[in-house]
């Protein structure tokens, strides 16, 4: 097992149905065993290059190629079975219901003799440090563990080239660390060539030895990390890359009004059939223009608390009240709930209910009984503020990740609720979208809307929150 060499010679790719070339005229050489970090803004062509290296850009249906892209001297498409590919979403990569069976899937497909399959499976699972046995159901694994298993599945094929497409984007910090460790161990053991696309660069630095930056489909920078980050810092920041060493400014201390906007009175929550509370009796009140961040490890109950504050989960004891009505939030009818609090979900797509962006924004005001003119004016205003005017008639599902995120925040704001609950709003976002979102939420907060955020993102919490509520085991940690 040795690493593959990569060669791009005037390579370009244009997707079917597009006018512009996603990547054009690229020249790149990667020697065996090198570890490369591939950076660039959304739309810079870095994903295209990665997918091309994986040999998955093939066929007249998908698009048109120019030049050559070779892996170990053969076109990428033909070398694709010697290439391991790890994607963002752990759930979409696991094929079988038991861990061992899943890792064995690759060798089975390649015709490895049956008596060699299980030894390879064990070898791959050891290489990534997978902590469970072969019979562990995949559904019982955490996100980070699933990604580790997926990596083991790739390693079982003994690839010469490992391609990782934002493997930690959907994971919390613990999960991300698990994956990084696994990757480090894997490349150390196998000496394969590595190409990683990631936004959060800092934690990957110890593993990589070269940085390649793409912009608008062309090579912009290439070299050792120190050199690239030193010389191109500003350009990279503009692109949305988290340049190591960026300091996030903490939220300036502000005076907050005392008008209460939401009050939770000794609310607790227990999952159906569970023996213990997921959230233990918690009392808190939220004031206008205040930004509260709820933080804590997985399973601490922070999302459940947020759902109760949003009126979307029924507390076992206690209730959450808003000043405009006597009924607890969870018992209010949806049209009435929207008057008190808006919610932004982790995955924007879960909230899309209409077929154009404009209709999405007009939906809540109409529900609240606003006049047609007022609704339309509000929609236009939001479109403008969020830079979505051009996309007003587009289908929400066709928007890019960052655009969808902005739209989902806009829809929650469209009814002008006094409070906003956000569940992991910065998940999977690059630095540019992150900054835009932060700016937007600061404006919203300063205008008097109360915010409750659940977030793993330390930088985001530091920059936005007036108050931080750490949770552990369902309780607010002192």
């Amino acid at each position: 097992m040795s690493g593959a060499t990569l060669l791009a010679r005037r390579w370009g790719w244009r997707y079917a149905g597009r006018r512009a070339w996603a990547v054009g005229n690229l020249d790149l050489t990667v020697p065996a065993g090198q570890r490369v970090l591939l950076l660039g803004a959304s739309g810079s062509g870095k994903s295209t290059l990665l997918v091309g290296l994986g040999g998955l850009l093939h066929g007249q249906e998908s698009g048109q190629a120019a030049g050559e892209l070779l892996v170990d001297g053969v076109p990428a498409y033909e070398a694709r079975h010697r290439t391991g590919f790890l994607l963002q979403d752990p759930d979409s990569q696991l094929v079988m219901s038991r861990s061992g069976d899943d890792v064995a899937f690759g060798p089975e497909c390649h015709g490895v003799p049956p008596d060699q399959i299980w030894p390879r499976v064990d070898e791959a699972m050891d290489a990534v440090g997978f902590g469970y046995g072969r019979d562990r159901p995949t559904a019982a694994l955490s996100g980070g563990e699933k990604q580790r298993l997926a990596l083991a599945g790739q390693l079982a094929n003994r690839p010469g080239l490992l391609l990782l497409d934002e493997p930690t984007a959907n994971l919390d910090p613990e999960g991300a660390a698990l994956v990084r460790e696994a990757v480090a161990a894997a490349v150390a053991a196998t000496a394969s060539t590595l190409v990683v696309v990631e936004h959060r660069v800092e934690e990957w630095l110890p593993i990589i030895d070269r940085v390649v930056v793409l912009g608008d489909g062309e090579l912009v920078a290439d070299g050792p990390p120190d050199e690239v980050f030193g010389r191109h810092r500003d350009a990279l920041e503009r692109m949305g890359v988290w340049v190591p060493g960026t300091v996030v400014r903490a939220a300036a201390p502000r005076t907050v009004a005392t008008t209460p906007v939401l009050r939770a009175d000794a609310v607790s929550y227990r999952h159906r059939g569970a023996l213990f509370d997921a959230v233990r009796a918690t009392t808190l009140s939220l004031r206008a223009g205040e930004a509260l961040a709820v933080v804590g490890p997985n399973g601490s109950g922070k999302t459940t608390l947020a759902m109760m504050l949003a009126g979307l989960a029924r507390p076992r004891t206690g209730s959450v009240l808003a000043p405009d009505a006597n009924r607890p939030l969870h018992r209010r009818r949806p049209a009435s709930l929207v008057r008190a609090v808006g919610t932004v979900f982790q995955q924007p797509e879960h909230q899309f209910v209409r077929s154009t962006v404009r209709d999405e924004l007009v939906q809540a005001p109409k529900r609240l009984g606003w006049s047609a003119e007022r609704s339309a004016a509000r929609a236009d205003d939001l479109l403008d503020r969020l830079g979505l005017t051009v996309l007003a008639e587009a289908n929400p599902f066709t928007l890019s990740g960052g655009q969808q995120r902005r739209l989902s925040v806009a829809t929650a704001l469209s009814g002008a609720p006094p409070a906003l609950v956000l569940d992991e709003p910065t998940f999977g976002q690059d630095a540019r979208t992150w900054r835009e979102l932060l700016r937007l939420l600061e404006e919203v907060r300063d205008a008097g809307t109360a915010l409750v955020t659940v977030s793993h993102d330390r930088a985001f919490v530091t920059a936005l929150a007036d108050r931080v509520l750490p949770m552990a085991d369902g309780m607010v940690a002192a």
């Binding site: 597009r18 066929g59 190629a65 599902f397």
Partner: protein
């Protein structure tokens, strides 16, 4: 910049099912299987499922998987496959028709498939979808009334009205509704890997 296109041979051949075709039809079938299972317990089905031809109309919901699958992936055999897998999943979850649903899946799927076959798998527009639904409905009526004989107590008149309702209902529910559903999905961009999702203009 010289552009080389990876071109398929000019000779037309039976398009092969790609992995994505198999997985997507399977998961769509699974969803319909669950829907089918739930549909039998819906209050409306419980209350009105006894009066022909209304029963036939309600039963046409069980015909949707085939046309939807075929319209999404546009491959030969897609209608039969999707309908059969949906029946299989419905049976797995637990249905009171037992595993006879598998036979239903096969025959209804064949009915739906026939329509697309008649057009050499080249036309995927609304009229063909309507025909597909109608034929599937006819197949269902055939099974319900004459082969499985669920309605042995009914007179010939009732039985024929069941057939008529099944054909009409099939065309509307399993044909037109399926077609609109696939079109709505294409608008979201999620069908991009398939020919059915590719009618967008150049951006």
């Amino acid at each position: 910049m010289t552009a080389t296109s990876h071109s398929a041979p000019a000779v037309a051949r039976i398009p092969r099912w790609r992995t994505v075709d198999i997985v997507v039809t399977s998961v769509v079938a699974a969803m319909f299987g669950a829907l089918y299972w739930a549909w039998q317990y819906m209050p409306i089905t419980q209350m009105f499922g006894f009066f022909p031809p209304f029963a036939a109309l309600l039963n046409t919901v069980w015909l949707m998987a085939g046309p939807v699958g075929a319209l999404i992936v546009r491959k030969p055999g897609a209608a039969i496959y999707t309908e059969m897998v949906a029946a299989l999943f419905e049976a797995l979850i637990g249905t009171h028709w037992g595993t006879s649903v598998l036979v239903y899946g096969l025959v209804e799927g064949a009915g739906a498939e026939l329509a697309f076959l008649l057009f050499a798998y080249r036309v995927w527009r609304l009229p063909v979808a309507l025909l597909s639904g109608a034929l599937a409905g006819a197949a269902m009526a055939l099974l319900d009334v004459w082969i499985y004989r669920y309605y042995t107590g009914w007179s010939l008149g009732y039985q024929l009205s069941y057939l008529a309702a099944a054909v009409a209902g099939g065309a509307i529910v399993a044909g037109a509704l399926s077609w609109y559903l696939v079109r709505a999905m294409a608008a979201t961009g999620v069908l991009a890997p398939f020919a059915s999702g590719r009618r967008q203009r150049l951006i």
